[in-house]
Amino acid sequence: MLNGATALFTWTLRMDARYVHPHVVRATFALFILFCLSMAALDAFGTNRTGLVFFGLVCQLNVLLIAAAGVSYFVTAVSEEKDAGTFALLQLAGLTPLAITLGKSTSRLVSSLMLLVSQIPFTFLAVTLGGIRWQQVLAAWVCLAAWMILVANMALLCSARCNNSARAAGAAGIILLLWFGTPPTIRTILNAIAPGTLSPEVRQTLSRLPQLLELVSPSKQIDLILNRWEVAEVFGAQFWFSLLLAVGCFTVSTLRLNAWTRPTEDGATGQEQGGKRRWPVGRCWRLPLVWRDFHFFAGGQTLFATRWFLWLVVYIAFLGLQKIELDSWRWILVGNFAMQMLLLLAGALTLECVLLATGSLHSELRQMTHSSLAMLPLSSTRMFLEKSAGCALSVLPSAVWLATVSLLSRSSLVGRIDGNLVLTWVLLLVFSTHVAALLSLYTRWAAFPLTLLASFVAFFVIAGPILLIPSAVGMLARTHNIQNSLPLAWAITIFWTWVLLLLPIQLWIRERWIVLLRK
C-alpha cells in the first residue's frame, strides 16, 4: 500500500516540479506580495503600522485564494480520475483507497503548503515595516495552514463523493458558501427580529450556531491575531478544530471511496446517468455554438430556470427581512436592503461569469473537440463570440434581476452608486472574464484562483484610470459647454479600455488557441 501511495505522491510532486505553470503560479504570488507591499505603503503612509496593513492584506487574500483553490484545484484530486475513466485502473493496480487519497490529495496539499511557505520570508518584511510582531506573523501562517488543510480535505470529500469534477466543484462551492454565509445571515435575521418574537432559548441556540461555525473561521482568527494579539492563541480552537474536521473528512473519504465509486450495473457512470435526466434541448439554433454552450456547458434550461427561481426566493427573503425591520410590507427593497441585494447580485454575477469563462474554452480542450471545431467553416473570432453569447445567455437571470432591483430601488441607490462606478464594475467584469478565458488555456486548475488574484490587483490598477477618464472628459466638456457629456465619456472609456486592455488579451487568446490546435 505504501509503495503505491509513495509512487503516486512522488509522481505528482515530480510533475508539479517539471511543469512551468506551477512555477508561474508561485512567481505570480511573489509579484502579488510586491503589489500588496506597495498598497500597504501607500495606505499607511506617514504612520508606523505599514507592516500590519501589508500583512493583513496578504492574509485576507490568502484566505480567499485557499477557498478558491478548494473549488478548483483540491476538488479534482480524485474526480479527475473518474472524469478520465482511469479510477478503475488505479484500483486494478492494487492501490487501496488510503493510497489513492494519500497519493492524489496529500501531494496537492503539500504542493500548496509550499506555496504558503514560499511567502513567509517576504511577509517577515511586515515586522521591519512596523505595527506587527514576528510571533503574530507566524501565528497567522499557522492559521492559514490549518485553513488550507481543512479546505483540501473538505474538497477531497466532495471529490470522492461526486461522480465528476463539475459536481464536486459545485458541492465544494456550496459548502464554502454556507460556511461563510451562514453566520452573518443568522446574525442579520436575529438582529432584524424584534425582541420577544422568539423565545430566549431559541434565540440563544440560534446565536450559538454562528459562534460554532466561526470556531474554524480563518478570518476571525486572523482578525484576532492582528488586532487583539493579547487574547489570541497560536494553536487555538481554530487550529485544532480545523485539523479535527480535516481528519474527519479524510477518514470518511478513504473509508467510503470504494463504495462511492462502485460501478453501476449497466456500466454507465454517474455523468451518463445524469445526462439522461436532462430536459430535451430541441433543434440546434442558427448559431450552433450558442446552443451548444448554453445547453451542454452552462447548465441549459434546468440551471436557467433554477437561477430565476433562486433569485426570486432570495428577493422574497430580503422582502421578509425588510418587513420585520420596517414593520410594513413593501414590494420594493429600500435602504440597506436594496444595497445588499444589489451587491449580492453583482457578486454572484461576477463569480458566474468568471467560472463560465474558465470553463468554456477549457471544456473543448478537455473533450478534445477543439480540432473538430477548427474544421468548421467558422472563424475563431465568431467561435469565441458565439461561445461567449451562450454563456451570457445562461447568466441572463442574474443580470435581469440585477437590472430589475437597480430600477425598482433606484431611489434608495442614488447617492450610493453612480454611473461611473457601474461602468468600472462592468469593465472589470469583462476584463476578469477575458483573463479567466486566457488562463484556462494554460492551466487546468489554477485559472479560477489566478483570475481572482489578477482581478484583485487589476481593481487597484485599472479602476483609477477608468474612473479618471469620465471625470476628465466631463471637465473638458464643461469648459467647452458641451451638454450631456456622460455618454461621450463612457464611450471614450469603453473604447480605450478595449484598445489598451481587452484587445491584447483577445489576440493572445486567439494565438494560444491556434497553438493548442497545432499541438
Binding site: 454507465a268 455523468q271 445526462g275 440546434c284 478534445m368 480540432s371 497545432r518
Partner: protein, 321 residues
C-alpha cells in the same frame, strides 16, 4: 491497377512536404498523391509522421516547406476552400459525450450552415449509412467504442465532403466493429468519396485500399498502387497453381513447358498445389496459353503476392538500428 487520365486533378497532392517540431524533423520531403474516388492507405510505425501529414492536409497545421493541394486548392493559401471539401476524423475520440447522437449531428450540420429542413434528411442519411439509425436518441457517452467511431464517421459526412481523412479509425475496435467499419468505407468509395485512411491494421488495408503510402521516420518509403507493393520483388514473379484433384504426372508436364523455369511442390499439399517460377521474359498470359493444351484439372492460377505486413516490415525496418 487503377488508371487515370493525365488531366485528372488529384484529390490530394503532397509535394516535398517538410515539417519540424522544435528542431526535430517530423516530415522530410514527403511526396505522394491520392487520386479521386479511391481508398488510399497511409501506413507507418508510431511517430512516422502520419498524423502530422494529415493535420497539414486538413489545414490544422501550417507546413514548414513544400506544397499541399486538395482538389487543386492550396492548403496554405485557400484553407477555407479545402475545409469545405474535406471531413477529418482525428485519432482520438473528440465528441460531446453529453449529447445524443442526433443532437451531435444536428450541431455539426447547423455549424456547416445546412438549413433546418435539410438537416433532418442529411442526419437520417448518414445514420443509415453508418447503420446507427436505431441509436439516434442514445447518449453518446452510453455508446460502445465502435458505435462512437461510427458516430464520428457520420459527423464527418454531414456536410457531404469529397475527401475523408481518417486517422486510425479502427484503433481500439473489436474485430466485428473493424469489419463493419471497413464495409462502410467500401460503401463510401462506391458513393464516389475519396478516403485517406491511416491505420495499423495492415491485413484489412491490403484488401480495402487501391493505393498505399508507407511513411517511416518522416520519409515516404513507398507510394503507389497496392498491387505494385504486394508483388514479390526481384527475379521473375511466382505463380500458384491448384488442381481440382491430385494428378500424378502434373509436375512432369509442368516442367516440360518452356514458359516455366522451376516447379516446386509445397509440403503437405498432396500433389494438388504447385509453385511456378516463370522463365525469363514470360508473362502471365504466356503461362495461361502454355497451360491450356495440357490435360490438367486446373482449379486456379494466381500470381503469388506478399502480405502487406511483409512489405511493411521490409520497407520500414531499414531505418531501425
Amino acid at each position: 491497377m487503377l488508371q487515370f487520365d493525365r488531366d485528372t486533378v488529384p484529390a490530394i497532392s503532397v509535394s516535398r512536404l517538410s515539417h519540424a517540431f522544435r528542431g526535430h524533423l517530423a516530415l522530410n520531403d514527403v511526396t505522394f498523391c491520392v487520386m479521386p474516388q479511391t481508398l488510399h492507405g497511409f501506413v507507418g510505425p508510431n511517430g512516422a509522421g502520419k498524423t502530422t501529414t494529415l493535420k497539414v492536409i486538413c489545414t490544422l497545421l501550417r507546413q514548414g516547406r513544400g506544397e499541399v493541394e486538395v482538389f487543386g486548392s492550396n492548403v496554405r493559401t485557400d484553407p477555407a476552400a479545402v475545409r469545405r471539401r474535406i471531413g477529418y476524423m482525428p485519432d482520438h475520440f473528440s465528441m460531446y459525450r453529453q449529447m445524443t447522437v442526433t443532437e451531435y449531428l444536428d450541431f455539426f450540420a447547423a455549424a456547416y450552415g445546412l438549413p433546418l429542413q435539410r438537416r433532418d434528411q442529411v442526419i437520417s442519411d448518414v445514420l443509415t449509412l453508418t447503420d446507427m439509425d436505431g441509436r439516434r436518441d442514445d447518449l453518446i457517452s452510453g455508446l460502445s467504442r465502435g458505435m462512437q467511431q461510427r458516430v464520428s464517421l457520420a459527423r464527418v459526412l454531414v456536410h457531404d465532403p469529397d475527401l475523408l481523412l481518417l486517422d486510425e479509425p479502427a484503433s481500439g475496435l473489436d474485430p466485428r466493429a473493424r469489419i463493419e467499419l471497413m464495409e462502410i468505407l467500401r460503401e463510401l468509395r462506391r458513393l464516389g468519396k475519396t478516403v485517406l485512411i491511416s491505420s495499423h491494421i495492415l491485413s484489412e488495408l491490403s484488401e480495402l485500399c487501391d493505393s498505399v503510402t508507407i511513411l517511416d521516420r518522416g520519409q515516404v518509403r513507398f507510394s503507389g498502387p497496392m498491387n505494385l507493393l504486394l508483388d514479390v520483388p526481384g527475379e521473375q514473379p511466382l505463380w500458384n497453381l491448384r488442381l481440382l484433384q491430385p494428378y500424378p504426372q502434373a509436375a512432369e508436364q509442368l516442367r516440360s513447358l518452356p514458359a516455366i523455369a522451376e516447379v516446386t511442390e509445397p509440403e503437405f499439399t498432396n500433389g494438388q498445389d504447385f509453385v511456378l517460377r516463370l522463365a525469363e521474359g514470360t508473362s502471365g498470359n504466356d503461362l495461361l496459353r502454355a497451360l491450356a493444351p495440357l490435360d490438367l484439372p486446373i482449379a486456379s492460377v494466381a500470381r503469388q503476392r506478399r502480405h502487406l505486413n511483409d512489405a511493411f516490415m521490409d520497407l520500414t525496418t531499414r531505418g531501425v538500428r
